[in-house]
């Protein structure tokens, strides 16, 4: 497990993500947030682990955590096919552009998210959107659930294998299913 940026050249950051050492920590931080939001990108359809696409793991996690999901690109239908209705779907930079606005009152109009979680966007897209949020929404906390270290997030899992990624997501889902704080 390494806390170097997954893409080797993505190093130009003075403020770097704190590594998430184990999935239970991520669960605790999400539970602590009042208004978390999960942004899911198109790579969850193309990246596979344990013989199934990553979106299967994300659907389980979203159902267990009850964190509202924004599906980017064209993948909303993939969620619907799996019996899960995302809270919204829109282009990745659209949701980034809303989140960066301090006056945006969230998808339900009841308040700005306090934690934005990313997973499954192309690495460089996710990295740059996280950079935009780091610079222009400095009070917002961000987290990534990928198996790739993202330097511009507040918290990121280190680089890890697909097996470890699957394990992390399953542990998170089980911890949410267990309930409690």
């Amino acid at each position: 497990m390494s806390c170097e940026p997954w893409q080797c050249a993505e190093i130009a950051a003075t403020k770097k993500a704190n590594p998430i050492p184990k999935p239970e920590i991520a669960v605790a931080m999400i539970k602590r947030a009042a208004r978390p939001l999960l942004i899911v990108g198109s790579n969850v359809v193309s990246r596979c682990m344990e013989g199934k696409p990553a979106i299967d793991f994300i659907v389980d996690l979203a159902k267990a955590s009850k964190v509202p999901v924004v599906a980017t690109a064209h993948i909303v239908g993939e969620f619907v096919k799996r019996g899960y209705q995302p809270a919204a779907f829109m282009p990745a930079t659209d949701i980034g552009n809303r989140v960066v606005d301090p006056d945006w009152q969230g998808l339900d109009g009841k308040g700005h998210p306090d934690l934005v979680i990313f997973v499954g966007l192309p690495y460089y897209m996710e990295s740059l959107i996280l950079s935009g949020l780091k610079h222009f929404a400095p009070d917002l906390k961000t987290m990534t659930l990928d198996n790739m270290y993202h330097v511009h997030a507040s918290w990121s899992f280190p680089n890890a294998s697909l097996t470890e990624w699957a394990s992390n997501l399953k542990v998170m889902t089980s911890k949410f299913n267990e309930g409690g704080n």
Binding site: T93, I129, S131, H135
Partner: protein
Amino acid sequence: MTAKNVRVKVDEMKTNVGLIKNVELSVGKVVTDNWDEPMGPTPMPHITTLRNWDMMLLNKYKPFYMPDCDLCCLCTYGKCDLTAGKRGACGLNIADQSSRIVLIACCIGAATHNGHARHVVDHLIEKYGRRYPLDVGGFNVKVEAPVTRLVTGIKPETLGDLDDILSYTESQITHLVSAAHTGQESNNLDFESKAFHAGRMDQVGMEIADLAQISVFDFPKADPEAPLIKMGIGTVDYKKPVIMCIGHNVVPSVGIIDYMKDHKLDDKMEVVGLCCTAIDNTRYFDRAKIVGPISWELRYIRGGFADVVVLDEQCVRTDCSLEAERVKAPVIAASEKNCIGYKDRTNDPVDEIVSDLVSGKVPGVMILDPEKVGEVAVRVAQQVAPIRKKMKSLPELDQIKELAKKCRHCNLCQRSCPQDLAIEPAITAAAEGDFSKLADLYEACIGCGRCEEACPVKLEIHSYILKVGEKKMLEETNYCRSGRGAVQDVEIRSVGGPLVLGEIPGIVALVGCANYPNGGKDVYDIAREFALRRYIVVTSGCSAMSAGSYKNEDGKTLYEEFPGGFEAGGVLNVGSCVSNPHIAGAAIKVANIFAKRNLRGNYEEIADYIHNRVGAVGLAWGAYSQKAASIASGFWSLGVPVLVGPHGVKYRRMLMGRSDKPENWEVLDARTGNKVNVGPAPEHLFQTVETPQEAMVQIAKLCIRPNDTWKGRSGKLTHYIDLHKRHYGVMPPDIHRFIRTQADIPITMKDEIVEILKQNDWKESVIPDPTMLPRMIRKVKE
């Protein structure tokens, strides 16, 4: 027609009113022309002349910055950490710095195109004189330089006129670059406005370059039936000597082709090209061949196909010379902008240069005389080819299997790959004799070579991918239509009405480079989808090549399947990078020819017209360069939205509307002066999309304009909803924002949409005569 530095001196003159002695009159420039259109309000705009227009757009489409770097290291105060609102030693914050980088990128792009134009114009004036007339389409194109006319107020007629206009653009670019110096511009929106101005200068510079080369080199002149050109490495006859030209500036290639023709060698040799030079070679000589877009330079040089490599300017891999050296292909550097460290042999005897290159005494030479480039390239290729044909440049499969066993499985190859391709598993499988995973990488690999640079045991991964994909590579036999140049006035008359009313759903321009996220087929798929839907599909540059690189079920390429006219369902290649202004020009000519709006120095009004009425969208699926940034900027300034593929996010700034804020979508009704909410049309000015499916849906949506008639809007919504349902699997979430009256509702979806309207508390509105400019209101409201 212009004359510079006119001086009149009168020693003594008797007149009716008296005697005049020792009068000297000096005039900087005399402008005369045959254009009776009155001059508009903004001829030859300076860097702030159109600032108000720019700010209107920037207020509607606010920048969303995504800095690539937390630092500024442009001066010795730095490095300064600008994270999260900190200001640097000069006072700039990260928003200012991000927009400053945008301006610098756009200036680099604009300077590159204008530098290209300057070289072409100077060369042609030297050869043919300032009075050489311009002709881009004879009687079919009376509005022959729409961008230049719009921006400068000048109607160029000769090469000399182009020289004068370039002096103007060059001065503007100098001012713009100077604004990026430390301690100059300090506001992000003003940086953005200046970036728009760089885009305007870029469009003028490109138009000048193409006007000059079309006129003098007799390229296709606004020809919908420009010839179909053989494309792909499989179309090249390798029994013949092969000269490979790479870059953008056709002048050295003209020298090569002329020499071949003069010596009756044109059917005994092959001239092939990569990147925009390839397209322009075929506009000059229809037996020249296109082998591929920019990203395949490494592929085809390393593949050993070229006997001589001629490099001109722009988008040339800077290690092309080293790669050519590996395969013993002599190199000629033919542009002063890309000297490669070679000795300048421009004034040496041809026999000596040829001897040095053939013997291998020198790997390459610099020659700045295009005629001499022609003779040297042809003679060297003839002599080198018989030796080179016996060479093998790629490793054999059994060698790859052995080399792959050295892999340390560190995964640095994948972590350095811009596409995040699974390279390590492919190498591991190759070591076991299974090459199928390497073969799978062939299509998606963009040939950057970063995997090799990262590999700690120096595995030549790209060569392995090429070897495994060699059979596929040699089967690449397609067609690209040669660049046709401008759109005819008569074509504009035919489609102007249906376009503005929305009955032709839009113009989709697939332009730019080949930094694709998953190979070039996405470009073909997108182009074909919209051609089948009877949009007007326009291509240029590397995207034009990718669009032609695949075939339908009948074995036809896109250019064989669809007509080349500017018409519903047409697929037209305007040409190379510098041909892009023909696309902007078509939109401008809709305003001028169809709507009878004056265009002379009348930028704001025409841009306002295009933004509100002409459903044009640009897609640069593989945009990578600063030139792509400045090309996009020229379109933003005209109010035309531009989409980029996922790598385009690295331009670090989007210009985005907020569909959830109704107050952002008000325009003025020119008939009444009333403000009318027209919905998010178009929703964004610059946007990154993640997948080709998303690109298709966004294109359909971004073609919607406030001026659409109910019939036009209904048709556009049908395409938007249909594509959305097909690719997303659900109805669009924002249909209610685009329906103004019940008549806008697509008839086949009426029940479903009426229900959506009810859920969203929809209210009917009017279809205005839309404008953003108060001065366009015909009747001021009391």
